[in-house]
Amino acid sequence: MTGVRVAGVGLTHFGKHPERTGRDLFGEAADRAFADAGVDRSAVEGLNYGNFMGELAEHQGHQGPLMAEAAGVTAPATRYESACASSGTALREAVKDVRNGEADVVLVGGAERMNNLGTAGTTEALAIAADDLYEVRAGMTFPAAYALMARAYFEAYGGSREDLAEIAVKNHDNALENEYAQFQRAISVEEALDAPMVADPLGLYDACPITDGASAVVLVSDEYADDHGLEAPVAVTGTGQGGDKMALQDRQYLARTPAAERAAAEAYDDAGVGPADVAAAEVHDCFTIAEVLALEALDFYAPGEAIGAAARGETTRDGDRPVNLSGGLKAKGHPVGATGTSQVVEMTRLLRGDHPNSDAVDGDVGVTHNAGGTVASTTVHVLEVTE
């Protein structure tokens, strides 16, 4: 089985770009990924594209071929939809294709246009990732769902709004030098605590923003990289995916995320590494509490132990294992379908040394964690510097 290398990565700016179409955003990200890879786009044998709510935001289905056009490739293209884990899922399938020998070069990415819908419209659109009958019709929004999980966590293990605010502060600090981030602005714990409540105990600064943006990576086989003399030091060495019941009410746990636990265990096993080997992680902090749940699912902490990790300085830039050095979804932004591959873009740059925060990474192994819905689906990937 061949190894899978990240030959090139590209992002658009993540932020408020309500007038930019999805195809325009993805075309830009793909163009940057090709330039970074030094791979001709005619070599692409498949496009795996992640998008969540294009039907609602742009009245656009069947986005695979549209995005292949946008990227200037003629290869077959497939859209993957798994809510906020859409492009993580697209990436996993591309990794399998390269390993299986189905393709030597695959373009993977995602895009989401959201701000054209406004806050109410986006809240309504995001809700379709929940169970329509038993959650959405009861008025459960996504912030509400994570608030339900946060209160369940506090009840089970303890924790406070201050602990969550420390996570937001950390992630904003990490985004300061990230030119692609929506918020290159520091915040304080006090500001976070004073922000308007969205769904208690979660306030505005516990939530990721509404973001337009795209991401792309070019994956190649070891053989293709060697034959073409590509400089591609980072490999995807582990992939894992886990699932759970769709509705929060139907889960065994309200304050744990077994889908992510399963994805992490599979990815670690696949890569032949363990949590202790991981130097840095990009995790799906759509809400501050989600970072806590992710760190426990990745087995960096036992259940109930990750809530204070940011406050203790363990996951900050100077900590033992920095988390979300990109700024995370919280500060970098969360264009839903683009997020999974954008985490791989950031981690690749962090590991190969050309990210503004690369100096905070002390090691060769990074992990990305991309969760869909209230973690009914998750992909985890292990990236390593292999040469």
Binding site: T119, A120, G121, T123, E124, A127, L133, Y134, E135, V136, R137, A138, G139, M140, T141, P143, A144, A147, L148, M149, R151, A152, E155, P196, M197, V198, A199, D200, P201, L202, K245, A247, L248, Q249, D250, L254
Partner: protein, 128 residues
């Protein structure tokens, strides 16, 4: 759209009808796994012969939140309390009515009912 124009969802609307009539139920498989309709098989083990088991008269609030920012269909309903309530065989998600947010607590006993939303008049599962 109100219930008067919406096509019924078999199973789900039957469930709401039953709760409204004070005859709430859930589906139970031979192994005792609970689920909500419509189901062809048990989502936990795949068993096919599901029976209806009466829902407990009261459930216990397991977690809750006060929603300040809602989707447009619930605009006039905010702020409202969404709770996940444990009824033993199943949990249900709904809105808490007739209680001030500051009086809500994990562990409180509530009864299920069906009401209408302020914004659209749609039927909604509530707890009182």
């Amino acid at each position: 759209m109100t219930d008067d124009t919406r096509v019924r969802d078999e199973g789900f609307d039957d469930f709401l009808d039953a709760v409204e009539a004070g005859e709430g139920f859930y589906l139970e498989c031979p192994d005792g796994h609970g689920s909500l309709p419509p189901r062809q098989v048990c989502p936990h083990c795949g068993a096919g012969d599901l029976g209806e088991t009466p829902l407990a008269e009261t459930g216990e609030i397991e977690t809750y939140t006060t929603v300040h920012v809602a989707a447009p269909e619930f605009d006039d309903d905010t702020p409202y309390v969404t709770a996940v309530v444990d009824f033993g065989g199943v949990r249900l998600t709904g809105q808490l009515r007739d209680a001030a947010p500051e009086d809500v607590a994990v562990g409180a006993e509530v009864t299920p009912d069906v009401a209408r939303t302020e914004t659209t008049g749609e039927r909604i599962l509530v707890f009182r």
